[in-house]
Amino acid sequence: MEFGWSPEQSQHRARVRALLARELPADWDDIAVHGPGSDAQTAFSKIFCKKLANEGLLISHWPREYGGNDMTVWDQFIMGEELWAAGEPRGPQYMNVNWIGPVLMRYGNAAQKAEYFPQIASGSVIWCQGFSEPSAGSDLASLRTRADKVEGGYLVNGAKVWTSYAGLATHCFLLARTASAGKGAIVILLLDMASPGVQVKQIPALIGEGDIHEVFFTDVFVPAQNLLGEEGQAWEIITFALQNERIGIPRYAFSRRMLDRAAEKLKADGRFENPVVRDRAGRALALCEAARMMVYRVVHQRATQAPQDAYGNLARWAIIQADHAVNDFMTEFMPEGLLGEDQMQIAHHQRAIAAGIASGAAEIQLNLAARRYLDLPSEPRRGL
């Protein structure tokens, strides 16, 4: 047991930081303020991800057979930590490399890999995830979007909601069902967002421009070759995808950066001499570092190929606490930031208020951890 970095890991972190210092434009904060799904950040992601690809860093954690460099799990995570702390210049493309790619590696067929991997590796495509629906949020299995079998493929009808990045997405990782009930009837379709019958409508929201959308599907034809895995295998694939997604974002890194920034501002203003301010800052700091250490524990599990348990769900809870604590601290002691004085604070606020909702509601994390980490008995089903 030890909690330090090897010289190679420190060098890798320094390399990522140097790249960020070199490649992020002077107006990066103005770009990043609107969030990863905004037009500006999505457009920038295509420039930045190409540079990452040229440096061999975009998919370097992928196996060599898929164009990667077999980068270690820790090096991948270090890069994600630095990029997220900087405001995630990969924009929505972090999803491509963190979980869409790995899901395709495990469950995609040869043709799908041949089609999608070069696009992801070049940093030129945007994926969105077509999961949530008006009546299927946390209860994903009750989704209603239909994928009726027709000659040569599926005809999709229905609607998705809260879909991040859909406005500029080129592809959708779409969940739909072939029959009226049951997890077994769900299929995953790799949908071209330019398909006729796809309509995207942005939802104005507290969390920023272009972040969430409604997506409507009216008789959208999806060729059979765009089915991921087998019919009946979707739930297994989703579970695998969510494992990669839920700890894919080191949110605490951005919160910690914002807290460091807040402390410097408060010091400059003379307000940090107030012990109440330092007390609250110290508590928020402890929550950020707690989230970091718990997420590292999950990364360690991955790095050592230990069996996955529900520790990731526990770590998600820690991340949510950290995001909220830093946001609450800044809102209480630096309200001027939300009054137009600090665009990055607004950006952090917009991410933090979604921390317990996006990527699986906090309560779902608690449910999963209760059953799989604490081994507590399930609630009896109604009527039993």
Binding site: M1, F3, A281, R283, A290, M293, Y296, R297, V299, P377
Partner: protein, 307 residues
């Protein structure tokens, strides 16, 4: 970054487990507020566990792992100070148990009834005081540690270690608070998990109610965070890591203890049910070194500086 034990660590903790097993330590059957295990103290001393940090190839993290494991027991033993703090300040480490105190020398301190040495942070100096027989009066308390108070501290000879030693003393104390809290939390949570899985109400285990499950997961998360922050602080021995770990631990203790007792109902209020042996040690640690606000301010100062 490696969260697994090294072979040496696994061997030491395995040996400690064997030692503990050989003593058949059970929660006290009689209704007592605190139980100190002198047999365990003797065995730890004889086995060299309390000197671990001075042995070649071992360090503070290894000592912290020992302290954490010992804190899981339903009886107390003075180990955290002997292992993590005293080696820096005692010329004769055999003069233990060691009590620690912050503030006036008349304040009650943990382990003072059996202590042979007291280390006292009096604000502008760190004092080392050898405790003669009969110098301490016991203090009755709900806290599940033995507490005592010096009868006439002004009459006791003392060694001034100087104010320069205070940062190290406080840093190590903070690490000790976090690491000991971690062990206490693990055992308390395990006991309550066992209880909620077997205790039936409304025809089902109370641990199947979502309202209870969520708060138990939150308690588990607190315990895990305390653990990793505490062990990281022991590994780095840095001011900020130590203060962060102690902040989190002391901030978590009230919620953790309140919820765990809540889920055990009236049974959790009895001395027959052993939960208090852990939660009332945690509650004792809550107020050490000025409490969570003092640690949080120390964490902020160590991380960002005051001005």
């Amino acid at each position: 970054m490696d969260y697994d034990f090294t072979e040496d660590q696994a061997a030491i903790l395995g040996g400690l487990e064997q030692l503990i097993g050989s003593l058949n330590i059970e929660p006290p059957k009689d209704a007592v507020f605190s139980a100190y295990s002198q047999p365990l103290d003797d065995e730890l001393t004889a086995g060299g566990y309390l000197d671990i940090t001075s042995q070649e190839g071992f360090g503070l993290l290894d000592g912290a792992l020992i302290v954490e494991q010992l804190a899981q027991l339903p009886v107390s033993v003075e180990a955290a100070t002997s292992v993590l703090i005293a080696p820096v300040f005692l010329e004769d480490t055999t003069r233990r148990p060691v009590a620690i105190l912050a503030g006036a020398l008349t304040k009650p301190a943990r382990f003072l009834p059996m202590a042979k040495t007291l280390l006292a942070d009096i604000g502008d100096d760190l004092l080392r005081i050898e405790i003669p027989e009969g110098a301490v009066e016991e203090v009755a308390t709900l806290f599940a540690y033995p507490y005592g108070r010096l009868k006439n501290p002004e009459n006791l000879p003392r060694v001034s270690l100087g104010s320069a030693q205070l940062p190290t003393f406080r840093r190590r104390w903070r690490i000790a608070i976090a690491v000991e809290s971690s062990g206490l939390m693990q055992s308390a949570l395990n006991l309550v998990l066992e209880h909620v899985k077997t205790r039936q109400q409304f025809g089902r285990p109370i641990g199947s109610f979502q309202a209870i499950q969520h708060r138990l997961v939150m308690a588990a998360e607190l315990g895990q965070a305390v653990r990793w922050l505490g062990l990281r602080a022991a590994w780095s021995d840095s001011e900020s890591d130590a203060a962060i770990a102690a902040t989190f631990a002391q901030d978590a203790i009230p919620r953790f203890c309140t919820d765990l007792h809540q889920f055990c109902g009236a049974m959790g209020l009895t001395l027959e049910f052993p939960l208090h042996h852990w939660t009332y040690r945690l509650r004792a640690l809550l107020g050490e070194l000025g409490g969570s606000s003092a640690q949080a301010i120390a964490a902020a100062d160590a991380t960002w500086g005051q001005k």
